[in-house]
């Protein structure tokens, strides 16, 4: 290091720090991406190659047999339809329930508001595993176990969505709401024309989280469905484990690829909005 000026030394230090930073970032990426990569390549390997040791990092022979099993034998599209109906209905209903609820919690004053908010927060903390029995019996009483409703109804009011949206609505100044009231806008109009556009990122994020949650739902449909006709894709993919003797990794991974693909695509499309929602500070 002798003979170098202070500036040169500083530059070397900075460059080496940069390199270290990149190595670290790369390592984190590999840690997260490698399982996905492994899943995808395994889904294209023939059965015997999946058992080979040492494993191959790229399929020696490509096969679509896994996908054939998933689509033809498992008839996965039937289950995807169920999942789409459940997820779609939940998102639409959540939209109509949670957004107005969050607006009321953020901008209205009424009796019992604190109490109601406490209840919302409480449901946030109570896991579904605690309540599924009573809910199951309730739905049995109502006679709706033979429909998709048990998978839809319990999650319409989402504490998480209400919480996120309320926090965002609270950041919007009261004066904007008051200005809209003075502009003779109805509360409904204020909500959809003023508040929701200003909270766009959060709305998209909560919808996305809700989509991921319901697309991947496993426990709830597992206890709520007895009828094969009503099962979602997650339970169908799970069945691949026992469809033939032993674990056929080709089939299982092909099923998983189909399961996670929509979620990954959606996340890539909306990641910018999610970051915005988490870092939203409002316009001063």
């Amino acid at each position: 290091m002798l003979g170098l000026t202070k500036k040169q030394r500083r530059n070397i230090k900075r460059t080496s720090l940069n390199i270290l930073e990149w190595i670290f970032k790369l390592a984190v990426c590999v840690m997260f991406l490698f399982p996905f990569y492994w899943m995808v390549i395994t889904s294209f390997k023939p059965y015997l190659e999946t058992l080979q040791f040492p494993p191959t990092l790229w399929p020696e022979t490509f096969t679509l047999s896994g996908y054939f099993t998933v689509f033809e034998e498992l008839e996965v599209l039937r289950y995807i339809k169920n999942t789409l109906i459940v997820t779609g209905s939940v998102i639409v209903l959540q939209f109509l329930v949670n957004i107005p609820a969050a607006y009321a919690f953020a901008k209205w004053e009424y009796k019992g508001k604190g109490m109601m908010w406490a209840i919302v927060l409480a449901t946030f903390m109570i896991p579904g595993q605690l309540t599924f029995m009573t809910i199951y019996y309730m739905f049995a009483d109502w006679g709706i176990l033979n429909s998709l409703l048990p998978q839809i109804l319990p999650t319409i009011a989402s504490a998480f969505s209400i919480f996120m949206l309320r926090q965002n609505f609270k950041q919007i100044s009261d004066e904007v709401v008051e200005a809209a009231r003075l502009d003779n806008a109805s509360e409904w109009k204020i909500l959809w024309r003023v508040m929701v556009p200003m909270a766009k990122s959060t709305v998209i994020t909560t919808v996305l989280f809700s989509f991921i949650g319901h697309w991947n739902a496993y426990f709830w449909p597992l206890v709520m469905t007895r009828n094969e006709e009503l099962k979602p894709i997650t339970l169908a993919i799970d069945r691949l484990k026992s469809l033939e003797q032993g674990m056929n990794y080709t089939d299982i991974m092909a099923g998983n690829v189909i399961l996670v693909l929509p979620v990954v695509i959606l996340f890539l499309l909306a990641s910018k909005k999610i970051i915005q929602a988490m870092a939203y500070r409002g316009m001063k």
Binding site: E175, V176, A179, A180, R181, L182, N184, S186, M283
Partner: protein, 355 residues
């Protein structure tokens, strides 16, 4: 068109009472300025009139019609907020148009009104922009245009200039005065700044702790204050007040004092030998801080404003105030006027000679 009448208005927030039994009439076409220190209830009062913070008791009439229970959007009023409160997701045009759409104004009519109002506040070329592409002054104009386009009976303004820099504020101030002249509608303007109040108002409504201290024109409120609070709130520096031996108070404005080197240079009822403690040369005038001769160091000091810059620090001079520039206040800090209460007034003048 837009006379505002408040009768027996009360407003409480939980346990706190902000306004109680308040009566107020603001005449049609008047530029009324509600002024007072922060927390005095002036904004609360404005929100009562707007209907966005309705009164807990009492009646409110606009244009002779009771509107106490009417929704804000149906009262025929428009409001300009301190933080502009424009809709950030809408364009300038969208902002101006929102109220019109809600009032079901037909499209052709809307276009005409928007063009007209945008022209008058100089926003024509910005109509397609989003608010975040505008400067503070332009946002303020959007807020104004949004209010004007509805052609309201009453304009309410809540410290609309406080977020602008000093230069722009002075400019907008005179634009608002012009706007008022042009529109001839009632303006109710809230500010904590007495200069703003003095320069813009037809009528100043001075409030303190939820009570109206005085409602009068700027000239009257300056020359003929009702009480010590008003006398000290209006005018910079505030009126000098001192307690007399009979328990009453004497007041005189810093700018009405004549300082002289010798005792008998001018005729004056009130004469005191004072020492100049500090001197601030402000250009057109000079501000002196003085202490009465013979008083201790910690004793009260008084302000004197003079157009002449004759004296320096530590000089000993004579302070002279003529009788017509002296104000007397009773023990309850209310004004004693010669016309209303000649007896007490005479007693105070008598007491003055002994001071």
């Amino acid at each position: 068109m837009g006379q505002i009448e408040l009768k027996n208005i009360g407003k409480t927030f939980g346990q706190t009472t902000v306004l109680e039994n308040l009566d107020l009439t603001i005449k049609d076409g008047e530029f009324a300025v509600l002024v007072g220190a922060s927390g005095c209830g002036k904004t609360t009062l404005l929100r009562v009139i707007a209907g966005i913070g309705p009164a807990t008791s009492g009646e409110l009439y606009i244009d002779g019609e009771e509107v106490s229970d009417l929704e804000p959007g149906k009262r025929g009023i428009a409001m300009v907020f301190q933080n502009y409160a424009i809709y950030p997701n809408m364009t300038v045009k969208g902002n101006i148009e929102f109220g019109l759409k809600n009032n079901k104004v037909p499209k052709a009519e809307r276009e005409r009104l928007i063009a007209e109002v945008a022209e008058s506040v100089g926003l024509t070329e910005y109509l397609k922009r989003k608010p975040n592409q505008l400067s503070g002054g332009q946002r303020q104009r959007v807020a104004l245009a949004r209010a004007m386009v509805k052609k309201p009976k009453v304009f309410l303004m809540d410290e609309p200039l406080s977020n602008l820099d000093a230069k722009l504020r002075v400019q907008m101030r005179s634009e608002l005065i012009e706007l008022h002249k042009k529109l001839k509608t009632t303006f109710v303007y809230v500010t904590h700044d007495q200069t703003e109040a003095m320069s813009m108002a037809d009528t100043i409504i001075l409030m303190n702790k939820g009570v109206i201290q005085q409602q009068a024109s700027p000239e009257v409120i300056y020359n003929d204050p009702n009480n010590i609070f008003t006398a000290q709130f209006i005018g910079t520096p505030p009126m000098n007040i001192l307690k007399m031996s009979n328990g009453c108070y004497l007041g005189y404005r810093p700018e009405k004092v004549v300082l002289t080197a010798e005792e008998n240079e001018v005729e004056a009822v009130y004469k005191k030998k004072v020492q100049i403690i500090t001197r601030e040369m402000l250009g057109s005038e000079t501000l002196y801080k003085v202490r009465y001769e013979g008083e201790k160091e910690e004793a009260n000091t008084f302000m004197v404003k003079s157009v002449e810059d004759t004296f320096g620090e530590d000089e000993h001079v004579w302070l002279n105030v003529a009788l017509e520039n002296l104000y007397f206040f009773d023990k309850g800090e209310m004004r004693i006027r010669e016309n209303d209460n000649a007896e007490d007034y005479a007693a105070c003048v008598e007491c003055l000679k002994g001071e």
